[in-house]
Amino acid sequence: MQEYEVIIIGAGVSGCAAARELSRYDVKVCVLEKEEDVCCGTSKANSGIVHAGYDAPVGSLKAQMNLRGNEMMEKLAEELDIPFVRNGSLVVCRSEEDMPKLRELYDRGIANGVKGLQILGREEVLAKEPNVTEEVYAALYAPTGGIVCPFELNIALAENAYANGAEFRFGTEVQEIRRLEEGYELVTDQGIFRAGFVVNAAGVYADRFHNMVSGRKIEITARRGDYCLLDKSAGNHVKSTIFTLPGKFGKGVLVAPTAHGNLILGPTAIDIEDKEGTNTTREGLDQVLERVGMNAKNLPMRQVITSFAGLRAHEKNDEFVIEELEDAPGFIDCAGIESPGLTSCPAVGERIAGILRERMGLTEKKDFISVRKGILKPVTLPKEERARLIKENPAYGNIICRCEMITEGEIIDAIRRPLGARSLDGVKRRTRAGMGRCQAGFCSPRVMEILAREWDIDIRDVTKSGGASKVLAGTNKDIL
């Protein structure tokens, strides 16, 4: 049995942001994650958008977290050395009769405290974004909208929390939670954990854990969003994030550059039963391709390099639930964190840490390390420095992923650093090796070699994403 003061269930952005904020204090924290890595659920499959904050209802926790998260993101990105761009966003309105809805959005944004909002006329929009649909009538412009790399944000939060003493247990699935006199006992497939306080940041599974300890049940529905990702050659198609006026389900389909210069289209919003249902469907992808034409034109659809689906953790009251349970003291929910969850995560972490600080009487560490250095990207260095780097470490002269120009040095760094990559997907999310236009066709055998060498395992045991996802089945003629 292992004891901690705080156990966080889930190593997505919310769990890791909470871990990082808590690591400012003298408190023993452990994050339990059922997958082999951080960022394996909702956090890895979303739009990567930092929302301005005009969507959520005035006075809601969602609105509050969105605004605060947006405001915090810039400094956080700097501290954690991750790509973040305030590229601005446009909500496209296609007809005069929809203008009241656009004004409503504007008014709500103002009431929520969003800065710099403007309603732009057709010509202004087209001057700003020539590839917006010709049918544009007007648009709501939010200069504070941004884009961030969701993987790097999640990974960096975890790494920084770890550097400040938070522990992480991967491949550890919580199966049962028992109330103790003081605190909770968590039964996992890796043994029993105890803690006085539990943070439930389990994404689409947050209702399961909540309902284990509380009589007031909550319900989280997996709301699937399908996406298409286009090659970097299409990354300049639009500069801002382009939304359509929100409909009944989510925010419609957006077109946006990603923090790394691809173009992303999506998502759909389809409620599903299966909380593991991250499969795209024909209907979903068709819907993305069809609806995307509502807000942008001339999209180079031949440049699609991959499609994927993510599950939003939708709470039935459409609100974030971030609070200690009245009927389960010491159990803190972080549930229903759907959009704008990524934007909100810095604020969500802050709020959770705040709740625990009050409850536990936590004191700040003197030696909190606020900065984290990302994986060194030689491509960002001036030529002379890059040459020096290769001289010192020749692995930085060896390109493994030719599409994204990722070197062996970066992949080794991704594996060796704390909470390092153990699988192809782990390497991919940390370095982008395999994320380019050939989608790992050329580099995967090489990355597998490096993983096998660095972890000292047989290459046949290298996985795509942990568990049973082995890439190779055996050797030639081994069963003949």
Binding site: L285, V304, A387, A440, G441, P445, I459, A473, G474
Partner: protein
């Protein structure tokens, strides 16, 4: 950078195209040639093509891919042509300064008199097809699987479905079978195969592997490792027909769904690309819109047979050599070029593209091969050539198909007879 190298011709890529271009350039009198190869050895994709069928045209005998490559590598060594392995070209400037990188030398620049683009192609990934479903381990492009099996000795899976009947897919159906896997079916979206007829016979028919034309994968099952896929028949527009779905359990899906010339470097230096081939637009010398920059092999347009790659690349090597010599002799090649008007090659019914896209009668050799692909299957048809609307030749063909590259031959004599010629049109006509 302190040490800038220079070479008369820098060849980007040491695969079949780069090797043949280098040999030809050397034989045409250029000594300072440098081949830059990103992989661990010369030979390119041939090294993983351990099946036979290579060299029937070039060497009049049947070789495996590595044997075919070895013939050229032997000549490279004999002719003392310089090359660097494990070297990635990062950038080529419009004035032909090549920036490259490797472990030993770090970043370095090579100032080139001429550049031959011979980077080959890459495979279209699953994402380009928008195949719905999960994204588990066990989905490979056929070429990746080929490398794992043929060069590294690992079997990617045991129960296999192959989507796409391109040549690599067909070859891998046989290879996986020989290595102990069960290949259940090869599915092809189009109503015809994208591969060579001989490969369908020798790789599928001989092993009893069914080929399902007008079928595609409509779902992928399995969260961690692939568990199975669903095939469905498609209608004339490639849309799945409801009710025709059929589930196949399998742990591996190989995709052989097309090759894309790898022209990021070319585009970066300002080379104009043809959207149909995704390769550079070239003239009769295989020279791009940038003077002294030539292209050959699969980076120019995807070939079926390496023999034709070698032939094309040899022409590029020879022309690059001529360019270098001329540049050394005369300062004003631009003036020379301007005095010869180029004839445009255009495509008519059934023809998707031609390589080259322009021909200059004065500059061309006695014979000029024009290669092209058709857009569909045509039986008992003619391949016809029109000079400014006048048909000057037609050749009867029993069948032409997108999977087999076609060619016509033009002669200098023919073109000289039409001094005011503006346009040569190639088309398929019914017999």
């Amino acid at each position: 950078m302190n040490n800038q190298l220079s070479a008369d011709i820098v060849i980007i890529g040491g695969g079949p195209a780069g090797l043949a271009a280098a040999v030809a350039a050397k034989k045409n009198g250029i000594d300072r040639i440098l081949i830059l190869e990103r992989d661990r050895e010369l030979g390119g994709i041939l090294n993983q093509c351990i099946h036979n069928g290579f060299g029937l045209h070039t060497f009049k005998e049947e070789l495996t891919g590595p044997e075919y490559a070895a013939r050229f590598i032997g000549q490279i060594l004999e002719l003392n042509i310089a090359y660097k392995l494990n070297t990635m070209v990062m950038d080529i400037s419009r004035d032909k300064v090549v920036t490259a990188m490797n472990r030993e030398e770090g970043l370095f620049e090579v100032r080139a008199g001429a550049v031959i683009l011979a980077m080959g192609c890459r495979e279209r990934p699953r994402g380009a097809l928008n195949i719905p479903g999960f994204r588990p381990a066990g989905i490979f492009s056929a070429g990746t699987a080929q490398r794992l099996v043929n060069m590294e000795g690992y079997l990617p899976g045991r129960e296999v479905v192959i989507l796409g009947s391109g040549d690599i897919g067909l070859i891998m159906a046989r290879r996986m079978t020989l290595e102990g896997a069960k290949v259940k079916v090869v599915a092809e979206l189009m109503p015809y195969s994208g591969g060579l007829k001989r490969n369908i016979v020798q790789c599928l028919d001989d092993y009893g592997i069914p080929l399902k034309l007008s079928h595609t994968v409509v779902d992928i099952k399995g969260k961690e490792r692939l568990e199975g896929i669903t095939l469905a028949e498609v209608d004339g527009r490639g849309k799945p027909i409801p009710g025709t779905e059929e589930f196949y359990s399998c742990d591996t899906l190989l995709l052989s769904v097309g090759l894309i010339p790898e022209n990021e470097l070319s585009a970066g230096m300002g080379v104009e690309l043809n959207p149909v081939t995704s390769g550079p637009r070239v003239n009769e010398s295989l020279e791009t819109n940038i003077e002294g920059v030539f292209a050959c092999g699969n980076v120019l347009h995807v070939h079926d047979l390496v023999d034709f790659v070698s032939e094309e690349a040899a022409a590029a090597g020879k022309n690059a050599a001529a360019y270098v010599r001329a540049a050394k002799e005369t300062a004003g090649r631009a003036a020379e070029r301007a005095s010869f008007p180029a004839v445009r090659l255009t495509v008519g019914t059934g023809v998707r593209y031609t390589v080259p896209e322009t021909i200059c009668a004065e500059r061309m050799d006695e014979h000029q091969t024009v290669r092209f692909r058709v857009g569909g299957v045509y039986k008992n048809c003619y391949v016809s050539v029109y000079f400014d609307g006048e048909r000057i030749s037609r050749r009867k063909k029993a069948v032409v198909a997108p999977g087999e590259m076609e060619e016509i031959m033009l002669t200098k004599k023919q073109l000289m007879e039409y001094p005011d010629l503006k346009e040569i049109n190639v088309r398929i006509e019914e017999a």
